[in-house]
């Protein structure tokens, strides 16, 4: 993406429109595209969700597997987030192991989920130091029309929120998985909002056109802590442009408001 010659005509158009607060797809600078969430779309997964932000289309699935804890956290389960840019999603995607963009995406989503303390990993321990639940969160990008981070974060979140953990019985050193399920022990729920900077304007939920000409982007995840206070739990700048300090703080304020809007769309019962 970054290696392409910037289509300067398109950039000029986008900037000119933005002067009057408008965008090519008719949105205002702070509008999200239409967000659609479907959960439990893959019955064989313990949790799954598809999310659309306009034409951007992402699926996430959760599988639980028994494995070993990390040596430095023997009493905690493990969460592992991966993302694949499958090649049907964009003419620019190629087969092969994840590239730096897919790895960054997975790690940004992971940090949002992890730092919000969404998943109570201490409840995923089966035999301390030996056997714990591993929560595999796998993200597939199915149609890339911009703002993969927010769509992927939301899909992963919704897959986890609606997932079911198999019950297990521990007898000595053996774990027997039962044919029953419990809800997954979840806590504060992180919502990620990405803004693109183009010229001196900030664009919420950037489209692919906007991403192609942006200077840089900023992604900010907000979660509610134990006291229901709203806190920033993760942040990532991307792209080769710069941000002024004023822009940074303004972006964070906008993201906070938008995260509240998005939070309302979560599967019911969730905060």
């Amino acid at each position: 993406m970054t290696n392409q010659i910037i289509p300067s005509v398109k950039r000029r158009q986008i900037i000119e429109l933005a002067e009057s607060g408008k965008r090519m797809d008719g949105r205002s600078l702070t509008d999200l595209r239409k967000v659609e969430i479907k959960t439990n779309v893959v019955e064989k997964a313990e949790g799954s969700a598809t999310v659309k932000f306009g034409d951007t289309y992402v699926i996430a699935g959760v599988k639980f597997e028994i494995g070993e804890p990390f040596p430095d956290t023997p009493n905690e389960g493990v969460m592992s987030v991966s993302a694949e840019f499958v090649p049907l999603a964009s003419p620019g995607f190629e087969t092969g192991p994840p590239d730096e963009n897919a790895i960054e995406l997975a790690r940004v989503v992971d940090r949002g989920l992890r730092e919000s303390k969404l998943l109570d990993t201490s409840k995923l321990c089966l035999i301390p130091g030996k056997k714990v639940w591993i929560a595999w969160v796998d993200i597939f990008i199915l149609d890339h029309c911009g703002n993969l981070i927010d769509a992927s974060s939301l899909a992963s979140l919704c897959a986890l929120l609606t997932s079911k953990l198999p019950k297990a019985e521990v007898v000595g050193d053996e774990v027997k998985i039962l044919d029953e399920y419990a809800p997954v022990p979840l806590r504060a729920v992180p919502i990620n909002i990405t803004l693109a900077k183009i010229g001196d304007k900030l664009f919420v939920d950037p489209s692919l056109d906007e991403e192609e000409v942006m200077d840089c982007r900023l992604s900010v995840a907000f979660a509610l802590d134990d006291q229901k206070q709203e806190k920033i739990c993760a942040m990532q700048k991307g792209g080769v442009g710069t941000l002024s300090f004023e822009e940074l703080l303004r972006a964070v304020e906008i993201a906070k408001v938008k995260s509240q809007e998005l939070r309302k769309l979560l599967p019911s019962g969730e905060k």
Partner: protein, 241 residues
Amino acid sequence: MDKKLITEDGRRLDGRRFDELRPIKFQIGVLKNADGSAYVEWGRTKILVGVFGPRESHPKHLAMPDRCLIRARYHMAPFSVEERKSPAPSRREIELSKVIREALEPAIFVELFPRTTIDIFAEVLQADGSTRCAAISTAALALADAGIPMRDLVSSVAVAKVDGNLVLDVMDIEDKLGDSDMPLAMMPSKNLITLIQMDGLLTNEEFAKSVELAKKGCMEVYAKQKEALDSHFRIASKEEV
């Protein structure tokens, strides 16, 4: 085999008759970026196929002067199966990618697009048996959606021998516990086979009957494919008005 796959009243575990397909729902044109796309829910098997091309061959030395290069990839999501699948392509996925390409290529007028490539990407979101057949049948629709000239659609279905009976459209448990599995793909209006594989133990007579049953199944899949195309292009042409 401990588990019985055929119930007392001669039905399969999901209630189907021996020669009955599962519910199959095709959707065409479901992706924005792909030149053509289709999605299927085939029982619990769910597959999304995207097609790109004809487009410039890359790397260039792959380009063929007298025809189009066809590439196909069959790929399973980690969460599509009971045990999480590692993301790296398995030997099974590599073989299936090859046979799927060989099942579709005979239907494409490859000589019309020299020096280009057509890429067919099938993503299995949930696997419950007959995924290669579902992928082939759905890819044929995605190719049509991309406007690629074809001799015919390709329709595919698998036949198994299960507790001594030949059954149509094999689901996962029948594949795993059954005695044989035979996926077959054909160009229905040409009456030509483009894929056949088999494992299990069959007499020549049983094999011949399996082939007949598969042919019947392919014809039914073909009808559903054409129906999906009709309704897709009817909607598309309305939208254009």
